[in-house]
């Protein structure tokens, strides 16, 4: 037990030196770190959002909406096909996750079924004896659709956030339909939330000028038209004036290639530009409808409905709507980044201001220093010289924890700091176990070397037992935990592993060297 082969001594010293070097990386500034040669690790401990300040948002993509939209698309094509083939139909509607339609004339049923089978390869078409045809989206198609919607949402969120200039955001997919967004350094996520909360689906429709306003506003718009609220800054939400627009989409925001906030006669407006296809459709729509009003619809609300004074052929135009400067900027940003395929809801939000984060770091530092000093003094008071050995091992231990976290790229959170302070308090346990055994052996009348030797040997199984149980708890906490608590699990678990290492190597090495140098006749413990 008390002999170390030279290579082992070298290995232990090497690990300690390496830990010191890796831990020291955290002292460098970002620029210094970037300037290091490429063969060195460029890592530092990341501070959790609770320490550096920032915003954590867990969003859910409403994938149900994507499937509903797809079913609505199927309804439109069913209506078109049946009309073209002059087949009479009834009760065309979405029914749960299927589209149902009834063909009253038995003679036309088979023709209708054949026709609808060809409509969409992703659907199963069945008919019952009453002539009710049910069109069901296949499970695989639904899943693909949902998954694609989440991926696409991720991309759109990334674009929108990048446009705002937040530094180093983390945007990750989580589970089937969730997106985790972490925005370090952001103290007020209201604007970002507003930005990512908007679907930003923009479409251009003609205003239905012939509709009977009384009927339409009472909720009975003519077929093919919709009643939509018209944006009005002075009105309460839900009380805006309403306007009847045709359902048919003349051009949609998908064809936009650029949008910029600008000014027109001192008023903030948004100018936009279409791609070639969009420009042509926009040109055609405006040429054929001069004198009519064109409604610009964003997320189910009419932003404005200007008169078409002349054909707009260049593929670009402007949106007016009594915007403030900020609104015009955000609208342009949303249009540039593209529409979300489905609405998002915020499931969880945790934001910490940078000031509070700094306070937490300060408090954590003070607690760590006071706790460590107390433990160090305590060990010296109660174990004398051996307490000093234990303290050296403790210092190496803390160094190893920091180095371990640096190498794993772990995140340090406030509970994580608590984990380190707690490790300081519990790590000396291994040495306490060893020292108590040595004391006993000394009392039993053994010589120093033999007492120390037996102390280390007998304590070893207990040290492993004691640490493994806490390690089990730490690992399970990591598996089931979330957010900042994981930070605690990480520091606690790394701390346990480094504790086992330092107890069996560092303390033993120091004691061995001391024995050889001092040749003591009794053990001062």
């Amino acid at each position: 037990m008390l002999y170390f082969a030279p290579w082992k001594v070298a290995a232990i010293l090497f690990v300690c030196a390496l830990a010191l070097a890796v831990a020291a990386l955290n002292l460098l500034t970002r620029e210094q770190l970037d300037a290091l040669p490429s063969w060195l690790p460029h890592r530092q401990i990341t501070l959790g959002l609770d320490l550096q300040g920032g915003s954590h948002l867990l969003l859910r993509v409403d994938t149900g909406a994507v499937v509903r939209e797809r079913l609505e698309g199927i309804i439109d094509s069913v209506r078109d096909e049946l009309r073209k083939a002059r087949i009479r139909y009834q009760d065309l509607a979405i029914d749960g996750s299927t589209v149902g339609v009834t063909i009253p004339d038995p003679e036309q049923r088979d023709e209708a079924r054949t026709l609808l089978r060809k409509l969409d390869p992703d659907t199963d078409v069945g008919m019952n004896s009453d002539g009710r045809i049910r069109i069901t989206l296949s499970e695989r198609a639904v899943q693909q659709r949902e998954s694609a919607a989440v991926d696409q949402s991720l991309e759109i969120i990334r674009r929108r956030i990048d446009e705002t200039g937040v530094r180093e955001p983390t945007i990750q997919r989580q589970g089937a339909d969730r997106v985790l967004v972490q925005l370090p350094g952001l103290d007020d996520p209201q604007r970002i939330k507003a930005l990512i909360g908007k679907t930003a689906k923009m479409t251009f429709h003609l205003v239905d000028e012939e509709a009977n306003p009384g009927d339409a506003l009472a909720g009975r718009p003519p077929p093919g038209s919709d009643v939509l609220p018209l944006r009005d800054r002075r009105a309460q939400p839900g009380q805006e004036p309403r306007i009847v627009v045709k359902k048919r989409v003349m051009v949609s925001g998908e064809n936009l290639i650029d949008a910029q906030p600008t000014f027109d006669q001192g008023q903030p407006i948004v100018s936009f530009r279409f791609d070639a296809a969009g420009g042509k459709r926009f040109g055609d729509a405006t040429s054929h409808n001069v004198g009519k009003r064109l409604a610009i619809v964003l997320d189910g609300q009419v932003i404005s409905a200007p008169n078409i004074r002349e054909p707009i052929l260049g593929g670009s135009g402007v949106i007016t709507g009594g915007f403030t400067v900020a609104e015009a900027q955000d609208l342009a940003l949303l249009l540039r980044a593209g529409a979300l395929p489905a609405p998002l809801t915020v499931l969880e939000e945790r934001t910490v201001g940078p000031g509070l984060g700094a306070d937490s770091i300060e408090a954590g530092k003070v607690a760590a220093v006071v706790g460590s000093v107390a433990v160090v003094l305590f060990m010296i008071i109660f174990y004398g010289l051996f307490g000093l050995f234990a303290n050296v091992a403790l210092a190496v231990n803390i160094l190893l924890i920091i180095a371990g976290m640096t190498l794993f790229g772990a995140t340090l959170t406030l509970p994580g700091i608590a984990g380190i302070v707690l490790t300081v308090g519990m790590a000396v346990d291994s040495n306490v176990l060893i020292f108590e055994h040595i004391r006993e052996e000394v009392r039993g009348g053994r010589t120093p070397i033999s007492a120390i030797e037996a102390g280390f040997r007998r304590a070893m199984t207990t040290i492993i037992d004691a640490n493994l149980t806490t390690l089990i708890a730490g690992i399970l906490l990591y598996v089931f935990g979330s957010g900042t608590i994981r930070g605690f699990a990480v520091t606690l678990s790394i701390g346990i592993i480094t504790t086992m290492f330092t107890a069996v190597t560092v303390t033993r090495l120091i004691v061995t060297i001391w024995l050889r140098r001092a040749q003591p006749r009794f053990v001062p413990i």
């Binding site: 708890a473 089931f480 608590i485």
Partner: protein, 311 residues
């Protein structure tokens, strides 16, 4: 050379086993009281588990809680609680979960911001919707359950079943008593509390394991010693280690409690209490439980002694 002081004098011969009935009664009382408190008073769940909104607002002048409360109550957001937090300028606002799913929580925050107006800085905003809060709660429970099971399996491999049952009983005793403390003081029970309970689970079992290791070692060494004396001797032999280790852990935790800031205060307090209880249980309760377990002795004489020992 300085040898260091002794917390516990060497060769103590405290007769722990002779007071085990009082200790059992004390422990039973504490566990029952904890369960009753938990059932009757319940835990003060934080927003992690209950859902809702938590805001830490920093005001320029000392916060006038009555005025703020008036403004917030007028919003009709249900149960709103305010308390100062650390300093007179920091107010912790808790708002119960709003009906109407995730979007309703966001609307409530906007209302609060409007009502309190400018001049208030929000240092912390936490919103946990109904879906996430129930997931967090169940994940916390799974973590607790899984770690207890994992520790039981570990103990089962390492020791004979008698020791395993005694160790697990002691562990459940420690955890239940700590949950009882949360109920008694109405301390917020959140994710950090789960972390405290799990760490305690590990710590408490390790404290017990150290004593049991010694018991087992002594069982092999002193085959004819009556079990009662052998347990007393084992606890006395490990007494110094048990107290030293608890003392260093407590030192670190006191530092966290006093200097670590408001967020960690509940965690530190739960850990401090848990370690005190854990130390008590591994000295006074866990080994005494072995008196009632049919601990196997390897020789015939030992067997007879153990049988004679059973009350």
């Amino acid at each position: 050379m300085f040898r260091g002081l002794r917390v516990v004098p060497p060769d103590t011969k405290i007769r722990f086993m002779s007071m085990h009935k009082i200790n059992f009664a004390l422990s039973a009382l504490m566990v029952v009281a904890s369960i009753v408190l938990f059932a009757v008073k319940g835990l003060n769940y934080g927003i992690d588990f209950k859902g809702g909104i938590l805001l830490e607002a920093h005001t320029e002048q000392a916060a006038d809680l009555a005025v703020m409360r008036g403004k917030l109550d007028a919003l009709g957001l249900g149960e709103v609680s305010l308390q100062t937090f650390g300093s007179e300028n920091d107010v912790l606002i808790r708002i119960e979960e709003q009906e109407g799913g995730e979007a309703a929580q966001q609307r409530a925050i906007s209302l609060v911001r409007e009502a309190l107006g400018a001049g208030v800085r929000y240092d912390r905003v936490e919103v946990v919707g109904p879906q996430v809060s129930s997931e967090l709660f169940w994940n916390g429970m799974y973590a607790l359950g899984a770690s207890i099971i994992a520790i039981v399996i570990y103990i089962w491999f390492r020791f004979e079943w008698q020791f395993g049952i005694a160790a697990v009983l002691a562990e459940v005793h420690d955890i239940v008593s700590t949950v009882g403390l949360f109920a008694l003081l109405g301390m917020e029970f959140n994710l950090t509390s789960i972390a405290a309970l799990l760490t305690l689970a590990g710590y408490s079992i390790n404290d017990t394991v150290v004593v049991f290791d010694r018991v087992r070692e002594n069982l092999r060494k002193y085959k004819t010693m009556p079990l009662r004396d052998l347990l007393d001797m084992s606890v006395n032999q490990t007494l110094s280690r048990t107290t030293m280790t608890s003392a260093t852990a407590l030192l670190a935790l006191f530092a966290l409690y006093v200097f670590g800031g408001e967020v960690l205060r509940g965690f530190s307090l739960a850990m401090i209490w848990g370690i005190v209880i854990g130390t008590y249980s591994s000295i006074f309760v866990a080994s005494a439980l072995l008196l009632y377990m049919n601990v196997r002795r390897s020789s015939g004489a030992g067997e007879a002694a153990a049988v004679a020992e059973r009350p």
